[in-house]
């Protein structure tokens, strides 16, 4: 056999040098790509500013962990492994792809340094990489086309199914793999000499298939495979920014720029200080250009994997919210308003256009979506920004106007009087055992117990306040409460979009806390914990702990001793509250504290830790009536029962309200009880 003629040297029909195509295709391809990218970047230039250039070392680590090591992918094992196969394959093959493009112009081209053993190793690696990618594509296509996992389904109201696009792209990738290896196999079959071929790789099989082919056939296949690869490659490159595969390009940037801090909410605008807020013409995101450039980048980066919506509790109970479609609709809006050809469209208000009011009010800010997304896409800040705009325009559901007005006037959503805020401490039996100081300037204490509104005023939740106080007493801590000077921490208020009310509550509370002279803060309410720790932004504030962290610490130091479990037959399970677990990463302290009770039997629910399922208590949701098929908390207590538990322990008063209610609704009074962490510990204090 004669050596095969490379595309760089070949002439089509004997007189058209194919090297022309080798020039043209890349030039046109890159040119189109650059143009498309410029159009895609256009809205980001008009977007609101964002603050993403801080903490560079952490950002680099995030890129290594989430992007390079695909850290979150295996959370959905099958899809995760398939994706890792394709991703690794792409990384490895990127060198080969570059080489191929240049080969089309200069047939003698070799990558510098690759004429050594490195080149040989790479050749083997790339062959297996291509094989792995093709296998993954075939399995993926099967999953998409036949298995059809639920999270990929597109509900009617969101338009047509995405399966065709998915399979099309898998087809393109498969074409790249096959054509690249055919290009190599055909040359090897023609050259005849034995070259080491990675056994059982794609190219190895093709070589076998082509071994008996004629020179002419091999030559034709060689040229055809090259240009099929070349065209497909550049077509794919230009196709990437057109849909969900844009993530191939944007993912590394999206991860680099992702949220480094957890639990806090973004300021109204990054370039506007809190003092300047009063002068702002408009609050929140009304039209798409009001999003920050990172949020727009998020829209571009969505891979349509559906994991966020799969984890979203609102979506699970049938509320009109699906995080995946918040992003997809945002992306499609950007595409529509900034088309590849034609003028940019005039932007219309988003609510009523691509988003509905109820859709945005349905979110409990639990963070399950953000925790799951392998690309670092954020949701809570976007929802909060959209709510800020709705509040600015007066689009507030009627049922929420009363609690907001009550928060403004009385500092708590129930409208109860300030002077009754510490009345829970005066309950006869309790007051006899435990004196609670009111830190009103006359009394001081080392530690401030920040009670927050629900535990102060709700009849049932006051028991939690008393239990917490008992624990503090038992540990010998010098503590007090703010009493009537304490106002709602404002965590929900801010996430509701009422920024100015939040600022007012925050500055009042900061003054009260600083005036108390306390050097530490403890709270049993994760919402207060989150607000003070992450949203109050005041360096003078003392450190704050959640009760579970405090208890775990005191058990270790021996200042709290626990006696044997009351009822050894009970089986306990711990429910991670969103604002303690996911948002503040406190998972082990409550568990360790519970396990320190001798004889306590504890089981884990399948959805625990950062996959905990929200009780629906966040975002003023105690007062809002969403449309849903079932209550989130009902699903949660059923999960507890499935795990084999008959007691569900929470560490958040909102969770407790919802769990106790759910037990009644689900008629599980005989098989399940709900108890707060503070109550559990208080009951087991060894006197």
């Amino acid at each position: 056999m004669e050596p095969i003629i490379a595309p760089a040297d070949f002439s089509l029909f004997g007189f058209i040098p194919t090297v022309i195509f080798s020039f043209l295709i890349p030039v046109v391809g890159v040119g189109c790509f650059a143009y498309i990218m410029a159009r895609r970047v256009a809205p980001l230039v008009k977007a609101a500013p964002d603050n993403r250039f801080d903490q560079i070392p952490q950002r680099i680590i995030a890129v290594i962990k989430l992007w390079l090591l695909q850290w979150r992918q295996p959370r959905y094992m099958v899809a995760g492994v398939l994706h890792i196969m394709i991703f690794v394959g792409f990384l490895v093959l990127s060198i080969r792809s570059t080489q191929l493009v240049i080969l089309g112009v200069s047939s003698k081209f070799a990558i510098p340094g690759f004429d050594t053993i490195i080149g040989d190793i790479y050749n083997v690696l790339k062959d297996y990489a291509a094989t792995m990618v093709l296998v993954a594509c075939i399995i993926a296509a099967y999953r998409r086309g036949v298995v059809k996992p639920a999270r990929y389904a597109v509900p009617e109201k969101y338009g047509h199914d995405h399966t065709a696009e998915a399979i099309f792209v898998l087809g393109l990738i498969s074409t790249l793999m096959i054509s690249e290896s055919l290009f190599e196999a055909s040359e090897l079959a023609a050259s005849g000499h034995e070259k080491f071929l990675a056994p059982l790789s794609l190219v190895w099989f093709e070589y076998l298939l082509l071994s008996g082919a004629s020179q002419g056939t091999l030559q034709a296949i060689h040229i055809a495979a090259y240009y099929v690869h070349d065209i497909t490659f550049f077509f794919f490159l230009c196709f990437l920014p057109m849909g969900k595969h844009f993530h191939v390009i944007t993912s590394v940037f999206n991860v680099f720029f992702m949220r480094m801090k957890k639990g806090n909410t973004k300021p109204v605008r990054h370039d506007v200080t809190e003092e300047q807020l009063d002068d702002l013409e408009s609050f929140g995101v009304k039209k798409i250009e009001d999003f920050t450039w990172k949020h727009m980048l998020d829209f571009y980066s969505c891979a349509d994997c559906g994991r966020c919506s799969d984890q979203c509790p609102a979506n699970t109970v049938g509320r009109p919210l699906s995080p995946r479609f918040i992003t997809i609709k945002g992306r499609d809006k950007l595409f529509a308003n900034y088309p590849l050809r034609g003028a940019f469209a005039e932007s219309k208000p988003l609510i009523g256009d691509i988003y509905e009011e109820d859709e945005i009010w349905s979110c409990t800010t639990c963070g399950a979506c953000e925790q799951e997304c392998p690309l670092g896409i954020e949701y809570i800040d976007k929802i909060v920004d959209l709510r800020r705009a709705m509040v600015d325009e007066g689009m507030v559901p009627q049922s929420l106007q009363k609690p907001l007005s009550a928060l403004e006037k009385r500092g708590n959503a129930w409208g109860k009087m300030e002077k009754k805020r510490a009345e829970w401490a005066q309950e006869e039996e309790f007051a006899a055992q435990c004196q609670v100081k009111i830190l009103d300037g006359k009394e001081t204490a080392d530690t401030l117990y920040f009670v927050d509104s629900i535990s102060s005023y709700d009849d049932r939740m006051q028991a939690l306040a008393r239990a917490t106080a008992r624990i503090l007493c038992a540990a010998g801590t010098d503590f007090g409460v703010l009493g009537k000077e304490e106002k709602d921490s404002g965590n929900e208020v801010r996430r509701f979009g009422e920024e100015m009310l939040f600022q007012s509550l925050k500055s009042h509370n900061i003054d009260a806390i600083l005036n108390s002279g306390a050097r530490h803060i403890v709270t049993a309410d994760p919402h207060a914990f989150n607000a003070i720790k992450n949203d109050y932004h005041n360096d003078e504030l003392p450190d704050i702990e959640h009760l579970s962290q405090y208890v775990a610490r005191k058990i270790k130091s021996g200042e709290i001793r626990l006696k044997g479990v009351e009822d050894p037959s009970k089986i306990y399970t711990y429910h991670d509250p969103c604002y303690l677990g996911r948002h503040n990463e406190v998972y082990d302290d409550p568990r360790n504290a519970m396990d320190a009770i001798p004889g306590l039997k504890r089981v884990e629910m399948i959805k625990s830790r950062d996959r905990s399922f929200c009780c629906s208590g966040g975002g003023l949701m105690l007062f809002y009536e969403p449309e849903e098929e079932e209550r989130m908390a009902v699903l949660r207590v059923k999960m507890a029962a499935e795990a084999g538990a008959n007691v569900i322990v929470t560490a958040c008063p909102f969770c407790l309200v919802n769990m106790e209610d759910a037990i009644k609704v689900a008629k599980m009074e005989d098989t399940m009880e709900a108890i707060d962490f503070s109550e559990l510990i208080a009951r087991h204090l060894d006197a």
């Binding site: 609050f283 007066g394 106007q401 009363k402 907001l404 007005s405 006037k409 009385r410 009087m417 100015m500």
Partner: protein, 257 residues
């Protein structure tokens, strides 16, 4: 259409516990939070919605003191263009007729097509609107829960017993008292109120309006709380016996129609 809405600053019954002062001649006012009377708020929302449809402007007016300005600003934050404060010692402690007299002075200063009040306020009297209409010799309709603008007149629905609605046509200018539930008042946040914080609100005294104070006809002798027992009186006996006893008690309380 030029609409005047009369609003009142009242202790918020939702967010307060009303108790009698130790002197017994008033309620305890120290810890109270005040806001705009709920019915008046519905009236302002209705006025704004009418003006959004047919053009014109909404003016809110209150008879009170400096503190009353806050409810004017809140309603202006909601969308009323102008606010008027009527403040004069002569009107302190005025009754419904006194307030209506002051408001008459305000009405006569400009030309209004429609005057709205809330159907009632904290004292449950519901009288200012009707009195004002009679003083101005304008047609009146109370407990209005629907307004449709026609040519030179309005079609109004009044809420009557049994949840029924009485439909009438009323000529303008007229006075209407507005019932809650006529619309869904829009939300006013702190931000909205700050935006109108520096808008000028003219203040009128009794002499500016050419009216003089009126001595209240109904004098309040004292405040008291009627007797109420601790916890429920538990009935005993068989289901039949308890049902019979209950019927007696219900009759006495007017619970049976």
């Amino acid at each position: 259409m030029e609409i005047l809405v009369c609003v009142k600053r009242v202790p918020d019954t939702e967010e307060n516990e009303i108790t009698i002062s130790s002197a017994g001649n008033d309620i305890e006012r120290d810890d109270l939070v005040y806001s705009v009377n709920e019915w008046d708020n519905y009236a302002v929302e209705e006025a704004i919605q009418i003006v959004d449809k047919v053009g014109g402007s909404v003016t809110v007016v209150t008879v009170g003191d400096d503190e009353s300005e806050e409810v004017l600003r809140r309603e202006m934050a909601m969308g009323a263009e102008k606010g008027i404060l009527v403040s004069d010692d002569a009107f302190a402690g005025a009754d419904g007729k006194g307030i209506a007299t002051a408001l008459k002075g305000v009405v006569e200063k400009e030309k209004y097509d429609l005057i709205l009040t809330g159907a009632q306020a904290d004292d449950g009297a519901g009288q200012v609107g009707g009195m004002l209409a009679a003083m101005l010799d304008l047609p009146y309709a109370s407990l209005v829960n629907k307004i449709e603008v026609l040519d030179g007149k309005l079609k109004v629905g009044r809420e009557i017993e049994g949840g029924n609605q009485e439909m009438s046509e009323i000529e303008m200018p007229c006075v209407l008292s507005i019932q809650t539930g006529i619309n869904e008042p829009r939300y006013v946040g702190i931000r909205g109120i700050r935006k109108v914080a520096s808008v000028e609100i003219p203040t009128f005294s009794a002499s500016d309006l050419g009216v003089s104070a009126v001595e209240p006809a109904l004098k309040k002798v004292d405040y008291f709380v009627p007797e109420m027992g601790e916890g429920a009186e538990m009935l005993e006996g068989s289901v039949e016996e308890m049902a019979e006893k209950l019927v007696e008690l219900l009759k006495a309380k007017g619970g049976l129609k």
